[in-house]
């Protein structure tokens, strides 16, 4: 029965009135995987999660959990548990009673409940908080209780709906590691919904990037970041310079592009592009390089080199972010890591300084859209 697939969505559509909140989504989530659904608000990620949980039912399409068709199975008969964004802890029950709730519903014997509740609280590092009420705890602690309340039921799949959304930056980072640790310790499948790209990249085995009810790309964090398959993904994950142009020559995975401002650039593409088609080049700011005009730099021999003028320099500690203007008037963002000595007080670049902008062919991604 178990072919290693925990959740299978097959051509799922969910419409509210005339709007397709989820529009022909298909994906397979593997056993033991940390799988994230990432996208802006309203992209359909939460609706997809709610259909897996059973709070919403698909308008059409098939949804299977471990090979079993879910159809209109109510949430209380599904082998999944949810951690809600707002935690949704029961305010009239103590922490221990909250965590015990699911086991009581399954009529687990009393002594066993006590033992498993304690173990769950230890797992989330709150072993002494059983007698407290949720309102007596901080947001981060409530989040851990919500996690324990779901995990104590040993679900086949754990669903997490933006669980870190309400926490401050530092706590978020802490909980990210915590979640990853727990997931690796228990080895169960986590489906994690977030709009925070960094969060998705840090924790996930695979990410599905969604927009307007559709899945645009599914892949590992590296694949999603390094090889986005469309402009939306490249734009949503990290930052990028986008340069529109037309294909002038194509040679398998390499192509020459004439940009809208008349520059010639070499780029890399996963799928071959035909000559004459309009494309967009994506260049990550940290993959663009700046070198001095007089310097004897090997980068100058890269395929894409353009004379440029430094326009603005902002120092943000770990990086320096530079905006340069090309002769054609186009501006390009370039990020340089601050690897210089702490004793070196002079900035590398000054506004108005002439420079050479370059990037390797592989880092200029050609996207069709």
């Amino acid at each position: 029965m178990n072919d290693g697939i925990a959740i299978e969505l097959d051509d799922i559509v969910k419409s509210f009135g005339d709007v397709n909140a989820v529009d022909h989504v298909s994906m397979q989530i593997r056993d033991g995987e940390f799988f994230s659904m990432l996208g802006p608000s309203g992209c359909g990620k939460t609706t997809t999660l709610r259909m897996i949980a059973g709070f919403e039912f698909p308008t059409s399409g098939r949804l299977k959990i471990h090979g079993k068709e879910m159809g209109n199975t109510p949430p209380y008969r599904r082998p999944v548990n949810t951690v809600f964004q707002s935690y949704a802890l029961f305010p009239h029950m103590t922490v221990a009673q909250n965590v015990a709730f699911g086991l009581e519903m399954k009529r687990v014997p009393k002594e066993q409940i006590k033992e498993r509740v304690q173990k769950a609280l230890e797992l989330v590092r709150l072993p002494t908080f059983g007698d407290r009420y949720p309102r007596q705890m901080s947001g981060g602690q409530q989040q851990r209780v919500a996690l324990a309340r779901a995990l104590v039921n040993e679900p086949e799949v754990l669903l997490l709906d933006e669980p870190l959304g309400a926490l401050d930056q530092k706590l978020r980072k802490e909980m990210q590691f915590e979640l990853k640790r727990i997931q690796e310790e228990l080895g169960i499948t986590f489906i994690f919904v977030t709009h925070d790209q960094e969060e998705a990249l840090t924790m996930s085995d695979r990410i599905a990037v969604m927009n307007a009810g559709r899945v645009l790309q599914i892949g590992t964090p590296t694949e999603i970041y390094e090889r986005p398959n469309c402009r939306f993904v490249a734009d949503f994950i990290g930052e990028s310079n986008f340069i529109e142009g037309t294909v002038r020559a194509s040679n398998g995975q390499y192509a020459t592009i004439e940009t809208s401002d008349g520059l010639e650039m070499q780029g890399y593409t996963e799928q071959p592009v035909s000559v004459g088609s309009s494309v967009v080049l994506s260049l990550r700011p940290e993959k663009a390089r700046l070198s001095t005009v007089n310097g004897n730099n090997s980068q100058k021999h890269e395929a894409n080199t353009f004379p440029a003028k430094v326009e603005r320099v902002s120092y943000i500690g770990s990086d320096t972010r530079i905006i340069v203007r090309l002769a054609s008037g186009r501006t390009i963002d370039v990020w340089e890591q601050n690897t210089r000595s702490t004793l070196d007080r002079d900035a590398y670049w000054q506004p108005g300084e002439a420079a050479i902008l370059s990037c390797s062919v592989e880092n200029a991604l050609i996207l069709t859209s």
């Binding site: 949980a53 059973g54 709070f55 109510p74 949430p75 209380y76 999944v80 548990n81 949810t82 809600f84 707002s86 949704a88 802890l89 029961f90 305010p91 009239h92 709730f101 699911g102 519903m105 399954k106 309102r135 309340r149 779901a150 039921n153």
Partner: protein
């Protein structure tokens, strides 16, 4: 007028740094004090005169508790009090159950005619009580006629008709209070319960009910209070031989105002105020 208000708002803004006197603030304070005096002086006088030794209750001649003592021995008043408590209790229980279920249905389900149903529910709160009383009276005589023609049994107005009438107008108040507490209820609580394996029945009794219980108790206490001091509807729908406290007080006042009436009024006031305070306390949000 315009000048006045401008001056007062300007002074109010600067009051922390400049002179503390402000015309607007002073006027407001005086008006507030006068309003409260207007509201409470009659009540205070009523309470004071329940302790007077003057038999006509016209002067404060000394302190006595004898009027309260006489209440105990007044068979008619005690009988009316028991009737009133009985009516208030039964109508509270029934209207709370029906009102809570109605509130749940209105808040949870989208059905045809919901808006109309919603609007009609609040009608008993706003229509003149005398209209409500007359319509109930007409309804009972119509219903009793019908029953007599069908079965030959003649029913008469009595405690039962008062109870039915009180239930009828209490439901609206219960619905208003319970709905308010349902609005503050986080629906995700119920989803969380389903998610943890509880079915609808278990979810209602373990999660929803305990969380909206303060609202239900508040609604019930309000229904009890309203029933307790209702005069018009009780007066119209009660039958011969069954008397209710407000009606009984009225008939005694027609003969003579004695401090005994003040005493029973003071007691009713105390009970009503206790219940209102209690209903506010149970509805107070927990922090």
């Amino acid at each position: 007028m315009i000048d006045l208000s401008q001056t007062s708002s300007q002074t109010a803004q600067k009051s922390s740094t400049r002179k503390p006197f402000s015309l607007g603030k002073t006027t407001l304070t005086v008006v507030s004090v006068l309003t409260y005096m207007f509201l409470y002086i009659p009540i205070i006088i009523l309470v004071l005169y329940s302790f007077t030794t003057d038999a006509f209750g016209a002067r404060l001649t000394g302190f006595t508790l004898s009027w309260y003592e006489q209440l105990w021995r007044d068979q008619r008043l005690m009988g009316a009090t028991l009737n009133t408590l009985y009516v208030a209790f039964v109508s509270m229980i029934v209207s709370t159950i029906i009102g809570t279920m109605t509130a749940l249905a209105l808040e949870r389900f989208r059905f045809r005619g919901r808006a109309v149903y919603d609007a009609f529910l609040y009608l008993p709160v706003v229509i003149p009580e005398i209209v409500m009383a007359l319509s109930l009276l007409a309804f009972f005589s119509f219903a009793f006629n019908l029953i007599r023609q069908l079965t030959g049994i003649q029913l008469r107005n009595g405690l039962a008709t008062v109870i039915i009438s009180h239930i009828a107008f209490s439901i609206s108040f219960v619905v208003i209070v319970v709905r308010a507490s349902l609005r503050g209820f986080d629906q995700r609580m119920e989803e969380a319960a389903y998610d943890l394996g509880a079915n609808s029945w278990q979810t209602f009794w373990r999660i929803t009910f305990p969380l909206i219980l303060p609202g239900i108790i508040g609604g019930g206490l309000l229904a009890f209070t309203i029933s307790l001091d209702d005069f018009i509807i009780s007066f119209f729908t009660t039958g011969p031989g069954t008397s209710l406290l407000p009606v009984e007080v009225y008939s005694q006042v027609k003969r003579a105002v004695t401090p005994k009436i003040n005493a029973i009024s003071t007691l009713m006031l105390a009970v009503s105020m206790t219940l209102v305070v209690l209903s506010q306390v149970v509805q107070r949000p927990r922090t």
